[in-house]
């Protein structure tokens, strides 16, 4: 009974971790975001713009 109560308390505790903290504790999600955001906003967007420049004749 006591064990079940402790497990329930632990379960509640784990549920209560705020989403922001879970994001900050997920190191590989942060790695994903830290690579994808600049890749899309700086590299891909920039490459798309440069590739649309007409080639001189």
């Amino acid at each position: 009974m006591a064990k079940a109560k402790t497990e329930t308390a632990e379960a509640v505790e784990s549920v209560r971790i705020p989403p922001m903290q879970r994001l900050l504790d997920n190191h590989f999600l942060l790695l994903f975001l830290g690579v994808v955001v600049p890749t899309v906003l700086y590299l891909l967007w920039g490459v798309m713009e440069l590739s649309q420049i007409p080639i001189a004749e």
Partner: protein, 577 residues
Amino acid sequence: MSVTTDTNIIGGVAAKFRTCPATGLDIDLAAQRLIKANAVAAIVFLAIGGLFGLLVALTRWPAVHLLSSDMFYLVLTAHGLDVLLVWIIFFEIAVLYFASAILLNCRLAAPRIAWVAFGLMMAGALLANVTVLQGEASVMFTSYVPLKAPPNFYLGLILFAVGALLGCFIFLGTLVIAKEEKTYEGSIPLVTFGALTACIIAVFTIASGAIILIPTWLWSLGYISHIDTVMYKLVWWAMGHSSQQINMAAQVAIWYAIPAILLGAKPLSEKVSRAAFLMYILFLQLASAHHMLVEPGISSEWKVFNTSYAIYLAVLGSMIHGMSIPGAIEAAQRRNGFTNGVFEWLRRAPWANPAWAGMFLSLVMFGFLGGISGVVLGTEQINIMLHNTLYVPGHFHATVVAGTTLAFMAITYLLVPLIFQREIIWPRLAKWQPYLFGLGAAGISLFMMGAGTLGVSRRHWDITFSDATLSFDYPPAAFLMLGLNGMSGILAAIGGGLFVVIIVASVLFGKKVDASNIVAALGPKPQKQMSDAVTSYGSAGTFHLPGTYILVSIFFTAFVLYYFVNWKYLSELWQMG
């Protein structure tokens, strides 16, 4: 005396540990050896690169004008390579291993691969250096195409980058081990989180470097006929500028670490400081865009979004650290009993401790000189007044030399007793070293920015244009600025040389550190025991910080004034009507 034990860890992997007499942490001996190797390599390249820097400063000094034009560009290339890339990244790998295996009290992941990484970085650095010194690769740090260096120059950079990337994965692997072995509770310490931020930025940086340097290497070998110059510049800066953002995250982690170790300082709010690092992870790399602000062919939307929107979010992160770190120091000092008046906590800080002095000078100079000038350069409209002038090297000497290099020097004064287990010899000399180097670095930054504001172009061997067909005269003040820059370079070289000599001599001849002298070996500090604040999660729990509010107000006032003064200068460039 440190005790060495064998410990079996998960997966049947055995690692040898010693117990740190100061912290009680188990220190993986493999991690310790790798930290030593990377830190020593870093300092050797700092010495070489710093010497090249002195030659550059003496050539820019018109009255001295030391080197011939060929030698100037050769030395400038080697200087950029050795200090912007090799010194910094070797040291950052040491910081990554320290912030993971040591602070998390666990074994380092895959130490053999870590040695392979070290070997690749060393081979790459040597190959690139030798190629530059042979005189065929004076393409400068940026190596803009169509300037073509021999293939070994690019190959050296690629090998170095691959080694650094392996080091990043070893750091990430060590975080996994620490989590599996439950060597920490809850979230990783803030300093380790800062190192994680540096690691993430490094992965993007190195991947971008691979995207551009591998084709450029093939182009140099003759397998590819053409590399588009603007495309090269776009992708190269994703590496070139982001590599300096790795420094930024690593140095901020060090700014939190040193007050935590010496004073027991905890961040004002762990959550807010972590959110500030998240801003770095998401947006800091986008600052690369300011190098493209005058390029045709890229839309204003791309330029404005990546600079005037995304950069400001990263700057917000820096603002948070800029208040949180002095605030953490003030809170800790007030807790340590320095409660009189508004600034007793600052006056009674351990200014004779080179780790402390280096950290605080780095924080102040980075913020006032590097941070504010960075925002000015990152604003599309006012950037145009300063683009490709000597203001740009002035800015990045404020960030990389006065900021990062001084911060790395500062933490080295703690790494020598904690990791090399040696006392710092010549403590009186060591006390003055950060001030000498800091003053020199501040002078270099300010006077180059001053010359840039007067229009002096960067990367120019001779601003007198002595044999040019069309002559041009810069104002006499520009010559004064470059003379003062040369003198500051000498001062910084003396400070940097002292650092190298003190650290090398301490590692080779310093008195051995054990339980009886470890706390004293960390240098002067207000408390007689080492704080564990650097290895734990938690906030300072107070916002009674009158001194910090005043300091932050001074910073904001300087920031606003300088920013708008530049807009005023811009309004005077083209007279209307």
